[in-house]
């Protein structure tokens, strides 16, 4: 059970939302008096030290009938820092409520009522075709976050139970109710409503979080690298506005021929549409790799997918793809092909050497910028020779767009090279290298980065030592 944090007494749940229990309560004032509630109800102007501000506003919607004495007694019971707004009928009440739920909290035009007390009148006076709850329904629609307690007469207990089922917090029978009991019922209804509201918000936030996590899981899959003998470190940091999903994605797949295909990409912009497009591109990329495509052919097809799937033609995606050839004999240099589509070039790190930014002169445009058919969009391969002990660092632009100090200067690729060199010199490798590098980028930025960041570090695992 999540903490509601509203100070509700533990046993208050016994009564929550139970029409049957509520029904029995008004008739048994002794028991009702024992209902715990977190705030003491000051009797007639108690707690003078804190009585200055109004902390409890009640909207009383009166029906026909001489109930003035009950409401006067209620006002007396609630004390000096409560305010009773008494109106005749539902129309006058609705005029005091903001036209859209919650608007009253932002502007001072509408009083912020904690509770509404609705007198449902005598059931005999109902117009034909009405169940007597029309006013209540209208009220709940206009003030969905406000506690509502209804009053019925002795003949209307069935109506009271129906009112609770329709969304009221409680009902009381007029003849059995006095000021103190009514005051307690109102205070209690407010606390119960508050608990229900925080529960509802918690559930909503959980669902939203789960949806984001689900989307993110599809953006950031488990690589399929069985048997590749590679160490694949991957990190993802959401941007400063966590709720705002980014479109960074990555994937890695080993095909039957022993080659390993790695991709990292970034859909420009932020939001669920961009994140969903990132998922679409990643899965399309994986499918195309499985289907045996690579290089220009793969990227052209991927661009077509993007063109059909994007919601606006200003959306494009940058992408970096590395294809490692199957390794030869132990100790021989390895080779790979690099394809860049508008994406910052990876860093090649050696075990000793200073990190090197791979060339990007051969790079093609980001996907979705230029039409493929006019042969404007081409993505030539760059052949790479990888000496023993190679490491490749792939990243999205969020990493180099972090600020360094006040104003507009950014880390940039040159700054990243220095930073990585420092952390390597400190003896950090693999996950610790990536983590400490991201941590320093965030520190330089003065906090979490605006954009989301994905970082991959790829390297060959040392060969197992076979004991003769």
């Amino acid at each position: 059970m999540p903490a509601t944090g509203d100070g509700r007494a533990p046993d208050a749940t016994d009564h929550a939302g139970s029409a049957e229990r509520s029904q029995s309560r008004p008739g048994t004032p002794q028991r009702a008096a024992a209902i715990p509630h977190p705030r003491s109800t000051p009797a007639g102007g108690g707690e003078p030290a804190r009585a200055a501000a109004t902390d409890f506003r009640v909207l009383v919607i009166e029906g026909d009938g001489p109930e003035h004495r009950l409401f006067e007694s209620l006002a007396e019971e609630l004390g000096g820092h409560a305010e009773l707004h008494r109106v005749d009928g539902i129309r006058a009440a609705l005029a005091l409520l903001p036209p859209t739920p919650g608007a009253g909290r932002r502007g001072a035009r509408y009083p912020d009522f904690q509770c509404v007390l609705l007198d449902l009148g005598a059931p005999g006076e109902l117009p034909p075709g009405s169940d007597g709850l029309d006013a209540l329904r209208e009220l709940l629609q206009r003030a969905p976050h406000t506690a509502v307690v209804v009053l019925t007469d002795t003949a209307g207990t069935g109506l009271g139970a129906a009112a609770v089922a329709a969304g009221a917090q409680d009902f009381l029978v007029r003849q059995d109710t006095d000021g103190p009991l009514l005051a307690r019922a109102l205070r209690y209804a407010v606390e119960r409503k508050r608990a229900d509201e925080s529960q509802r918000r918690l559930v909503e936030a959980e669902i939203r979080g789960q949806e984001n996590a689900r989307l993110q899981r599809h953006l950031l899959p488990t690589p399929l690298l069985d048997g590749a003998g590679l160490s694949f470190t991957r990190r993802y940091r959401p941007g400063r506005r966590r709720a705002l999903l980014g479109g960074d994605f990555y994937d890695a797949v080993r095909t039957k021929d022993g080659r390993v295909h790695v991709v990292i990409g970034d859909v420009c912009g932020h939001g669920p549409d961009e994140a969903a497009l990132g998922v679409a591109l990643r899965i399309a990329w994986r499918a195309l790799v499985f289907a045996g495509l690579s290089g220009q052919h793969l990227l052209t097809t991927l661009q077509h997918v993007l063109e059909y799937e994007r919601r606006s033609d200003e959306i494009f995606a940058t992408l970096c793809m590395v294809v490692l050839d199957a390794p030869g004999e132990q100790g021989t240099p390895e080779s790979a092909e690099l394809f860049l589509a508008g994406h910052p070039a990876p860093l090649l790190l050696g075990p000793d050497a200073v990190p090197m930014l791979l060339p990007s002169e051969q790079a093609g445009p980001a996907l979705g910028l230029l039409p493929c058919d006019a042969a404007q969009a081409t993505w030539p391969a760059l052949r790479l020779g990888l000496a023993t002990g190679w490491r490749l660092l792939l990243y999205t632009d969020g990493l180099v767009e972090g600020k360094v100090g006040a104003g507009s200067p950014r880390l940039g690729q040159e700054g990243l090279i220095e930073l990585i060199a420092d952390h390597q010199a400190a003896g950090l490798t693999r996950g610790r290298l990536v983590d400490s590098a991201i941590a320093e980028v965030e520190e330089l930025n003065g906090g979490a980065l605006t954009d989301d960041v994905a970082v991959l570090l790829l390297e060959r695992n040392p060969a197992p030592v076979i004991m003769g």
Partner: protein, 113 residues
């Protein structure tokens, strides 16, 4: 930091002077300005980026969207930029092949190719 925008007409060209940072937060303002200009019948735009301190991928998307809008009316969108770090972003993403980039507003206004 915020984004500043001002527009002026030079001959048949509309010059949009942009200052500050174009990122995920400010890019919508630039988009709005470009859409409004095109809707008002200005199809030959020059975007002066000399005062831009930072440009991210959302901002690039807005410029690409602007280009596609003016092209639909057989118009043009030229950029003015001398800042190496901004030019680098255009180079990395391949946008130097998409936008004509000029050294000065005068050059951009005089260009006819």
């Amino acid at each position: 930091m915020d984004l500043s925008l001002s527009t002026r007409t030079v001959g048949d060209r509309t010059v949009v002077e942009v200052g500050g940072e174009i990122d995920v937060y400010t890019a919508p303002k630039l988009r709005e300005q470009l859409v409004e200009l095109v809707n008002d019948g200005n199809y030959h735009l020059v975007v002066d980026m000399e005062g831009v301190d930072f440009l991210d991928s959302t901002g690039l998307g807005v410029l690409v969207g602007g280009l596609k809008r003016v092209r639909a009316h057989e118009g043009s969108l030229r950029l003015v930029c001398n800042q190496e770090r901004i030019l680098k972003i255009f180079r990395i993403t391949g946008l130097t092949k998409v936008f004509p980039i000029h050294n000065s507003v005068d050059d951009a206004v005089a260009a006819t190719d």
